[in-house]
Amino acid sequence: MILKPRFSSYALTRAPSRRETCSGFTRTSMVAAAATAAMGKSRRSSKKSDRLEQEIAENPAANGDVEEASGRDEESQPSDAASLSEDESSQGSPVDSEEENGGVNGDEDHRSGEESDSSEEEVPSRNTIGDVPLEWYKDEEHIGYDVAGKKIKKQARKDRIESFLAGVDDAKNWRKIYDEYNDEEVELTKEEVKIISRMLKGKTPHAGVDPYAPYVDWFVWDDKGHPLSNAPEPKRRFVPSKWEQKKVVQYVRAIRKGLIKFDKPKEEPRVYLLWGDDSSAAENKRHGLSYIPAPKPKLAGHEESYNPSVEYIPTQEEINSYQLMYEEDRPKFIPRRFESLRSVPAYEKALKENFDRCLDLYLCPRTRKKRINIDPESLKPKLPSRKDLRPYPRTCYLEYRGHTGPVKTISIDISGQWMASGSSDGTVRVWEIETSRCLRVWNVGEAIKHISWNPLPELPVLAISAGHDVLILDTGLGNAEEQARIKELLHVEESKPEEDGGSTPVVSWVQDDKYDCIRLKHLKAVTTVEWHRKGDYFTTVVPSGDSRAILIHQLSKKHTQNPFKKLHGLPVSAVFHPTRSIFFISTKKNIRVYDLLKQKLVKKLETGVREISSIAIHPGGDNVIVGSKDGKMCWFDMDLSSKSYKTLKAHPKDITNVAFHRSYPLFASCSDDCTAYVFHGMVYSDLNQNPLIVPLEILRGHTSSDGRGVLDCKFHPRQPWLFTAGADSIIKLYCH
C-alpha cells in the first residue's frame, strides 16, 4: 500500500491530463498497482474489497477517472453505483445483491469517505514502522508498536516443509500471498486473481473496460490562438550552426585574400552630359502632373539701386509715417542712397530673403491663374451713341412749386395739358403743364398716397387715394356737356349701401358733398389707384387687406368686385394691361399675371430682388419693368422667360417709381438718392431680337429731405418729357 497515496496525489496534480496518465501506465506498473491495491483491500471485509474491485474496473471506463478508481473507493455517486450495479447484474456477479442491499450503507460510507478526504486508510496497516526499509527490522522481533505501546510481533517463520504441507493441504493455497511489510499472509479472492491474470495477459484489468472507446474531446479548441503544445525547445537551437561556421570561414578567407574590402574609396559626385540629345522625345520623359513653374521673383526697380535718383528716396516724414501703417501695408524696402560703391554695406537680410524664397518654392500652393492684361475700358459694353437716341429728357425746364409737403404722386392728363399732383400735406393740385400755373387746389385733409387721371380724354376725372378713402374727383375741366355727363356719373344714390346692409360691404360708395365727388370708403389704408384703359374700371390696393387687398371697381355701376381672394405675399401694386384684359399684381417678391376673362393665373415673374416697390408695363404689353427697394431695376420680357432679362443696378438707394413712355422708347426710374435715370428701351417687333437697353441720362436737381429723394416720375403722354416729384415739395419737368 505504499504506492497508493502517491498515486492518488499524482492523479490530483495532473487533473487536466487525466487521460494521459491513464494511457501512460506501463503494463507492469498497472499490474503492480492493481496487485497491491488488491492486497490492501483483501484484508478488509469481503464486501468492501468487492466494491473496490468494481470501482477499479468500472470507473475509468465510465468517466475515465483514475483518481476515484484508486483513492476514493467509496465515493462513487449513487447514480453511478446504480448504473454500475446494473452492469454487474448483467454479468451475473454474486456480489450484486449485496451491493444492492447495502445501498443505504453505501451512502453512509460515501459520506464518511467524504469527510476524510485525504488518502488515509480507514484500515491502517498492521505495520507501524512507517516508510522505512524493512531491512532495518530484519533482526528485530517486532514490526512497530500498536496503540497501546505493545510490540507488534512478527509471526514465526514457517520452514519450507511446513509451508509446503500447508499448501498441499489447502486447496486455496495458490491464492495466498505473503505480505512482507505487514508480515501476514493474504488470500486473494477469485476476482483479484482474475484481474491479475488479465493484466498478465496484457489486457485491461476488468473485462468491462472498452479500451477503444470513442474519443471525446473535452477541450474547446475554438478561438484558441496557440497550440496546446508544451514541447521543449529543440536541441538544434542550442547547437552552433555548421552552415554558419562554413560561411564565416568563407568570409574570413575572402577578407584575407582581399576579395572583400571594407573601406571603399568614397565616390565623388560625377557630372556627365545629362541632356544629351534634347530632341529625343523629351516629352515622353515628362510624367506626373503638369509642372507649374514658380513665379519668378520680382526684378529690382529703380528704387532698389544703391544710388537711386533723388525722387525715389522717401523723406524722413514719410519714413516715420510708415510706422503708422499696418505691418502688411508697410513697404518692405526703404530706398537708401550711397555716394559711392565702396560705402555699400552687406545686405543683412540676404539670407533671410533667400530663405523666404525657398519657403515660397516648396510651401506655397501653386495654381495656374489667368491674368488678364486688358484695358479696363474694353470691359465696357459697346452702346450706341446717345446722340442717336435723342430725343430724351435731359435738362430741367420747369419747376412747379406750391406744395408744402413732399409730393408723393403725380399724374398727367391724357391730353398732355394738365398735371395733377398729390402731396403728403393733404392737398391735391392741378397744374397747367406749359405754364406751371396751379389751376385748382383741393384740400383733402389726409396725406395723398396715389393719384391718377382717367385715361378717357372726355372724362377729366381724378382718382385719389387718401388714407382709407378713394375719391373720384371732378376736376371741372372740359366743356359744359362733358361736365353734365360727369355730374351724372359721379352721383351716388344714398340708399345703395343700406340695401346691401346685411353683411359688411368691402367698400361703401358714398357721395361727398364738399367736393361734389364720390368717396369710396375702404376698411384700411389704400396705397394705389389705377384706371383701366377704358376709364370705367379702376383698381385699388390695400396692402394690409388680407383677402380684400385688391379690389376692382366699376364707376358706371358703382360696383365693387373682389376677384383675388388668395394672394401669396403682401401686395404692393396692381396694374391693368395697356391693351388686353390682363391684370398684373405685384407682391413683395414677385409679379403675378392674371387673365381677367379666363380668370386664371397666366404667369408668375420671379424678380429675385428684396422688395418690389413699383411696376410699369411697356405700352406694347410684353415687357415689364420692376423697381425694387434695393436699388435694382429688372426688365422682364414676358415672352422670353419668367426671369428678368436684365437687371440694372443704377441707384444706390431705393427705387421709388418706374415709368414707361407711351410712345417713345424711353423708360425712367427715380430713387431716394435724388436722381432719376432715363433709359432708352427699344423693343423690337422681331421676336428674335432682344430689347435694347441703353442708359441715357441721370437727372439731378432734387434735394433730399428726411431721407427721401424723388418720389414719383411720369412721362408726358406725347412729348419726351419727364416729370419728377421730389420730397423737397417741388415737381420738375425735364425736357429734351
Binding site: 520623359k285 533723388v310 525715389y312 555699400v344 539670407l351 525657398c358
Partner: protein, 598 residues
C-alpha cells in the same frame, strides 16, 4: 444626414479623393515631416490649390498623384536606410564600439540626384528656365563664411564658389551677359542662354552673417539640389563650347583667389584661343602669399601635372576646335550678341584694389574688354601704357596717368545697360555719380521716366546715328586689329568721343529747344485755360462736357454685369494707385529741385 455624407463602402470622389492634406500625406508615406520636406524639395513637389478645400481652408493640400509619385521614389527607401544607418552608428557609439562606429561611418549610404534632375527637367531648356533661384542661392552660399564648425559645411561653400565661377566664366566667355544692376541687395545680372533670360543676384563681396531666423535644413536641402543641378548645367554648357568639364585650373591663380580669371584662361586655352598669356602671369611673384603656397605646394604640383597632361591631350583636336569656334562666331550670333561682344572692344581696364574685383572681372570680359587688377597674378600691371580706363572708387587719385581715364565702377555697369560708351565726366574720381537706374524697368509702361534715363536715351540715339555712317572704318579696324597701334586706337577713341560729345551737345540743344517750345505751348495752353475760366462766360459748355463725360462713364457702368463691373473697378483702383505713385515721385523730384536751388 449631413451635407457631405458619404455612405460606407463608397469611395471618395472629386476633390476629396484628388487632394490630401500634408499631415495625411506624411502619414501615408510613413516618413517624418523633415524627410517629407526634403523629399518634396528634391522632387520639386509643391502643394496645389484645390477648387474645393474639403478639409478646411487653413491646410496645405497636395495632389494625390504627387504623393503617389513620392511614394514610388527610390529616394524614400534611401532616406530610411540613412536613418537606420544613423541609428547603428549611434548604437555603436553608445556601446563604445569605436571600431564599428568608424567602419559604419565610412560606409554611409549616399544618393545621387542626376535621375531626379532629368526627371524634373526633361530638356535642357527646362533646366535653364528654372535656373534663377538656383544661381541666386549658389552665389549666396558662395559668399557665406567658410568656417569649420558653422552650420554649413565648408566643402559645400567651396563647391558653390567653384560652380558660380564656372558659370560666370561661361557667361563671360560666350558674351551672353545682357544687363547688370547694382542694388542695395547685391548685384543683379541678366544673361541670355539659349534664348532664356536668366537673372540672378550675387551679394556684395562682403562677409555675410549667418542669422538665426533661418532654417538651415531647408536651405541646405535646396542648395544640395541646386549644386547638383548647376553642375550638370555647367557640364552641358562647357560641352557646348567644346571645353572639358570639370576644368582643371591654374593652381597658382586659384591660390590667389582669382579663380574666375583662371577659369577664363582655362576656357580660352581649351578652345585654342589665347595661349601666349601664361608667361605674363608666371612672372608675377610676391612674398605675401609665399606662406600659403608652401602649404599647398604638393597639391599644386599635382594639379600642374594634371593640367599639363590635359593640355597635351587637348592639343590634338585644337585646330578643329578653332574652326568650330570661328564658324560659331560667323553665323549664329545675333545682333545683340555682337553688340555685347564689341561694347568694350579695344578698351583696356585696370582695377584698383578697392573696387569689387570679382564682379568687374566677370563683367568687363563679358563685353569684350581686357582687364587686369592690382595684385598678384594679374595679366598686366598698372603701369601698362595701353590701359584706357582705370576703375577707381576712392575720394581722390594720387598719381594720374594722363593716357587713361579714371572712372568709378558704376560707369562700367551703366555703359553695359545703355550699350554705349557713356561720357566719363560724371563718373570721374571724387564726384558723386549720376543715379544708377535699373535696366529691368520698362519706363514707358511704368509711366515715369527718371531724368537720367532720358539723357541716356538721347545719348543712345546719338550713338546710333554716329555709328551708322562709319561702318566701313570700323570693319577695317576689326579686320586687322594686330596691325593697329595702341596710339591709333587711342586716337580713334578720342576722336569718337569728341564727335560723340559734339553730337550730344547738339542733341541736348535740340532737346532743350524742343522742351522750351513744348513748355511755352503748355504754358500758353494752361494760361489761356485759366483766362477762360476767369472770364467764365463759356464755362458752362466746358463743364457740361466734363459732366457728360463723367456721366457716360457712370452710365456705361450701369449696363455692365456685376462681374465685369467689379473687375473694372478693381482695375481702376490699380491704375489709381500707379498714378498716385507717379505723382508722389514727381512731387519729391520737385521738392528736391526746389531745395537744391533754394
Amino acid at each position: 444626414m449631413p451635407k457631405h455624407y458619404r455612405p460606407p463602402g463608397k469611395k471618395k470622389e472629386g476633390n476629396a479623393a484628388k487632394y490630401i492634406t500634408r499631415t495625411k500625406a506624411v502619414h501615408y508615406l510613413q516618413v517624418s515631416l523633415s524627410n517629407f520636406r526634403k523629399l518634396c524639395i528634391l522632387k520639386g513637389i509643391f502643394p496645389r490649390e484645390p477648387k474645393k478645400k474639403v478639409e478646411g481652408n487653413h491646410k496645405t493640400y497636395y495632389h494625390m498623384k504627387d504623393i503617389l509619385f513620392l511614394a514610388h521614389e527610390p529616394l524614400l527607401e534611401k532616406f530610411r536606410d540613412i536613418r537606420a544607418h544613423k541609428k547603428k552608428v549611434k548604437k555603436a557609439l553608445a556601446r563604445k564600439n569605436r571600431d564599428l562606429a568608424d567602419r559604419l561611418l565610412n560606409r554611409e549610404p549616399t544618393y545621387k540626384l542626376d535621375r531626379l534632375i532629368l526627371e524634373r527637367y526633361p530638356t535642357f531648356v527646362d533646366a535653364l528656365r528654372d535656373l534663377d533661384d538656383c544661381l541666386t542661392m549658389v552665389h549666396l552660399f558662395a559668399a557665406l563664411p567658410a568656417v569649420e564648425g558653422e552650420r554649413i559645411q565648408v566643402e559645400r561653400i567651396h563647391n558653390c564658389r567653384r560652380l558660380s565661377h564656372e558659370w560666370q566664366a561661361y557667361i563671360s566667355r560666350t558674351h551672353s551677359l545682357r544687363k547688370t544692376f547694382i542694388s542695395v541687395k547685391g548685384i543683379y545680372y541678366q544673361a541670355e542662354v539659349e534664348g532664356q533670360k536668366i537673372t540672378w543676384l550675387t551679394p556684395h563681396a562682403l562677409q555675410q552673417v549667418l542669422t538665426d531666423d533661418v532654417d538651415f535644413n531647408v536651405m541646405l536641402t535646396f542648395s544640395e539640389f541646386y549644386v547638383a543641378l548647376l553642375g550638370f548645367v555647367n557640364f552641358k554648357l562647357y560641352h557646348s563650347i567644346n571645353v572639358k568639364y570639370p576644368p582643371i585650373l591654374d593652381p597658382r591663380l586659384e591660390a590667389l583667389a582669382a579663380e574666375l580669371y583662371a577659369l577664363c584662361r582655362y576656357i580660352s586655352a581649351g578652345s585654342g584661343r589665347l595661349s601666349g598669356d601664361p608667361q605674363a602671369i608666371t612672372s608675377v611673384e610676391d612674398g605675401q602669399h609665399e606662406v600659403e603656397k608652401t602649404d599647398t605646394r604638393t597639391e599644386e604640383s599635382e594639379l600642374r601635372l594634371a593640367q599639363l597632361q590635359h593640355q597635351l591631350s587637348a592639343n590634338e583636336p585644337g585646330a578643329l576646335m578653332h574652326l568650330m569656334e570661328n564658324t560659331d562666331d560667323m553665323d549664329d550670333e545675333d545682333h545683340e550678341k555682337k553688340e555685347c561682344r564689341n561694347l568694350f572692344r579695344n578698351l583696356k581696364f585696370f582695377l584698383s584694389r578697392e573696387v569689387p574685383r570679382e564682379s568687374l572681372l566677370f563683367v568687363i570680359p563679358a563685353f569684350g574688354g581686357v582687364v587686369s587688377w592690382d595684385g598678384n597674378g594679374s595679366p598686366f600691371k598698372e603701369s601698362a601704357e595701353d590701359i584706357t580706363h582705370q576703375i577707381v572708387d576712392r575720394p581722390t587719385q594720387g598719381h594720374v596717368f594722363l593716357s587713361r581715364e579714371y572712372v568709378q565702377p558704376q560707369w562700367v555697369y551703366d555703359c553695359i545697360n545703355a550699350r554705349i560708351i557713356l561720357p566719363t565726366e560724371k563718373y570721374l574720381v571724387g564726384r558723386v555719380p549720376p543715379p544708377h537706374l535699373s535696366p529691368f524697368v520698362d519706363n514707358e509702361a511704368e509711366g515715369y521716366i527718371p531724368e537720367y534715363a532720358e539723357t541716356i536715351k538721347r545719348l543712345q540715339a546719338a550713338a546710333k546715328k554716329q555709328v551708322l555712317p562709319m561702318p566701313g572704318v570700323e570693319s577695317q579696324d576689326l579686320d586687322d586689329p594686330q596691325t593697329l597701334l595702341v596710339e591709333g586706337i587711342i586716337d580713334r577713341t578720342e576722336a569718337n568721343e569728341a564727335a560723340e560729345k559734339k553730337r550730344k551737345l547738339t542733341m541736348l540743344e535740340k532737346q532743350y529747344h524742343d522742351e522750351l517750345n513744348m513748355e511755352l505751348q503748355g504754358i500758353t495752353y494752361s494760361t489761356s485755360l485759366s483766362n477762360k475760366n476767369l472770364q467764365s462766360s463759356a464755362e458752362n459748355v466746358k463743364e457740361d462736357t466734363v459732366t457728360t463725360l463723367e456721366e457716360s462713364e457712370d452710365l456705361s457702368k450701369v449696363s455692365m454685369s456685376r462681374k465685369k463691373r467689379k473687375l473694372y473697378e478693381a482695375m481702376k483702383i490699380g491704375q489709381e494707385r500707379k498714378k498716385e505713385k507717379i505723382k508722389l515721385l514727381k512731387e519729391r523730384k520737385k521738392n528736391a529741385e526746389a531745395s537744391k536751388t533754394g
